[in-house]
C-alpha cells in the first residue's frame, strides 16, 4: 500500500492519476457509485475524456475500482498517522480501534459500496484486505519490538506471528465490531487486554 498520506490535501501537488482518483471520489460521494459517469469525472477534474481514457483504458469501471482501493489506502494511512505516537502497544490499539470505528461509521464511500453496487465492489474488499493485512502487521512490528525491549511481552512471543494475529483482529473489528461497542472506551480496553493482547503482553 502506498504511503501517500492524504493525497487530497490542498496545496499538495497531485499527479494526474491521483487528481482523477480524487475527482472520482468526489463524484461518488455526491452522486453514488451507480450514477457517476466519465463526464462527471471530466467536469470535476477539468481533465478531458480522452486524457481520462489514456490514463484509465478500462474507463469508468477501472476508475471506480482504483478509487475504492486508493481511498482504503488513505483510510489506513490516516489511521496510522493518528496512532503512531502512542506510548504503549495497548494504548495504540485502543486509540486505533476507537478512531478506526468512528471514521468508518462516517465513511460515505464505503457505505455506498454496500448500498449501491455490492456485487461488483465487495470482491474488491477481499483483495484489499489481502493488501491491508500486511500493511497493518508491518506497522505494528516496531511497536511489538519496543514492548519486547522493555520487557513487556510474555516470554517466547514470536513478534511476526503476533503482528499478523493483531492485524487480522483489527481488520475484522473495523469491518464488524459484532457485540462490541467500540465507542465505549472501557469496552475497547477490555477487548484489547483480553482478545488482542491476552497472549502477547505480560500480565501486570
Amino acid at each position: 500500500m502506498a504511503t501517500t498520506g492524504d493525497a487530497r490535501d490542498p496545496g499538495d501537488p497531485l499527479s494526474l492519476h491521483d487528481r482523477l482518483l480524487a475527482a472520482t471520489y468526489g463524484c461518488v460521494e455526491r452522486f453514488g457509485l451507480g450514477k457517476t459517469t466519465i463526464d462527471d469525472i471530466a467536469k470535476e477534474s477539468g481533465v478531458s475524456r480522452a486524457t481520462i481514457y489514456r490514463q484509465f483504458p478500462g474507463g469508468r469501471d477501472e476508475l471506480l475500482l482504483e478509487t475504492v482501493g486508493w481511498e482504503i489506502a488513505n483510510y489506513f494511512n490516516r489511521l496510522a498517522d493518528q496512532v503512531r505516537d502512542a506510548p504503549t502497544l495497548a494504548e495504540l490499539l485502543r486509540g486505533g480501534l476507537s478512531f478506526a470505528h468512528r471514521s468508518i461509521s462516517e465513511h460515505v464511500l464505503l457505505r455506498k459500496i454496500l448500498q449501491t453496487e455490492p456485487e461488483r465492489l465487495l470482491p474488491l474488499l477481499t483483495t484489499e484486505s489481502a493488501k491491508t493485512l500486511p500493511f497493518i502487521a508491518d506497522f505494528l512490528l516496531p511497536y511489538l519490538r519496543r514492548e519486547a525491549e522493555n520487557g513487556r511481552l510474555r516470554p517466547g512471543v514470536d513478534i511476526d506471528r503476533a503482528s499478523e494475529y493483531l492485524a487480522r483482529s483489527i481488520l475484522s473489528l473495523i469491518g464488524a465490531p459484532g457485540r462490541w461497542n467500540l465507542d465505549d472506551p472501557d469496552q475497547v480496553a477490555d477487548l484489547v487486554d483480553v482478545e488482542l493482547l491476552g497472549g502477547i503482553t505480560a500480565p501486570t
Binding site: A162, Y165, A176, G178, R179, G198, I200
Partner: protein
C-alpha cells in the same frame, strides 16, 4: 432462532434435503421451487404448504445447517479436557463442516456476490453474533455463559478471517496450526496458566 431442526416435519426435512442438493448442483440463483419439488419427488403444492416462498425455504435451510453445526461442535468439544482443546476442536470441526457443505461451497465458488454482503459491516455483525451463540455451549464446562459467548464470537472472527483472507504460513484446516494459535494468542486472555477462568 425461531425453531430447530427437531421441529421440522419429515416432509419439510425431505424438502430441505432436496433444496440442499439442488443448490449444491446449480447454485442459489438457478434453484427454483419447481426444481426442489422434482428433487424431493413431491408436488409443488406440498413444497408451498411447507414454505411460502424460496426466501423462507432458504431461511429454514440456514437454520437447519446452523443447528447441525452447533451439534457437531458441541460433540467435538465433549471429550476435551482443557479449554484450549475445546477451542481447537470447535475451530477445526467448523472449518471442516463449512468446507464440506455442498450448497455453501457452491455459492462460495460460483456466487460469492450472494455471500459477501454477509461478511462486512452490519450483516457480518449478525453472522458473528449468531456464530457466537452457536458455539458457546462447547465452552460451558470451562467458562461462564457470558465468557463462553464472548470467546465464541472471537474464534468465529478469527476463523472467518483465515477462511476469507488465507495466510501463506497458516492453514486454518490444520489442527496443529490451530492449536498453536489458540495456545499462544486466544486462550491466555480467557484463562490463566492453570486453566482457571479469569
Amino acid at each position: 432462532m425461531d425453531f430447530t431442526a427437531d421441529d421440522l416435519s419429515p416432509k419439510a426435512a425431505q424438502i430441505l434435503d432436496a433444496a440442499s442438493t439442488c443448490i449444491g448442483r446449480v447454485g442459489l440463483a438457478k434453484t427454483t421451487l419447481d426444481d426442489v419439488a422434482r428433487e424431493a419427488r413431491c408436488a409443488r403444492a406440498t413444497v408451498y404448504r411447507c414454505f411460502a416462498n424460496k426466501q423462507q425455504l432458504l431461511a429454514a435451510l440456514v437454520v437447519r445447517e446452523a443447528d447441525a453445526l452447533r451439534a457437531a461442535v458441541v460433540a467435538a468439544a465433549q471429550p476435551t479436557a482443557t479449554l484450549a482443546d475445546a477451542v481447537t476442536a470447535v475451530v477445526t470441526t467448523s472449518v471442516d463442516f463449512l468446507g464440506t457443505n455442498a450448497p455453501l461451497t457452491f455459492v462460495c465458488a460460483h456466487e460469492p456476490e450472494l455471500l459477501l454482503p454477509y461478511l462486512a459491516f452490519e450483516r457480518e455483525d449478525a453472522v458473528l453474533r449468531t456464530a457466537a451463540v452457536l458455539v458457546a455451549p462447547a465452552f460451558l464446562r470451562f467458562l461462564t455463559a457470558s465468557e463462553a459467548t464472548r470467546l465464541g464470537e472471537w474464534i468465529a472472527r478469527i476463523t472467518l478471517s483465515y477462511l476469507f483472507s488465507p495466510s501463506e504460513h497458516f492453514d486454518i484446516a490444520d489442527a496443529q496450526h490451530v492449536r498453536a494459535l489458540v495456545d499462544d494468542f486466544v486462550v491466555p486472555g480467557f484463562v490463566d496458566s492453570e486453566g482457571v477462568s479469569r
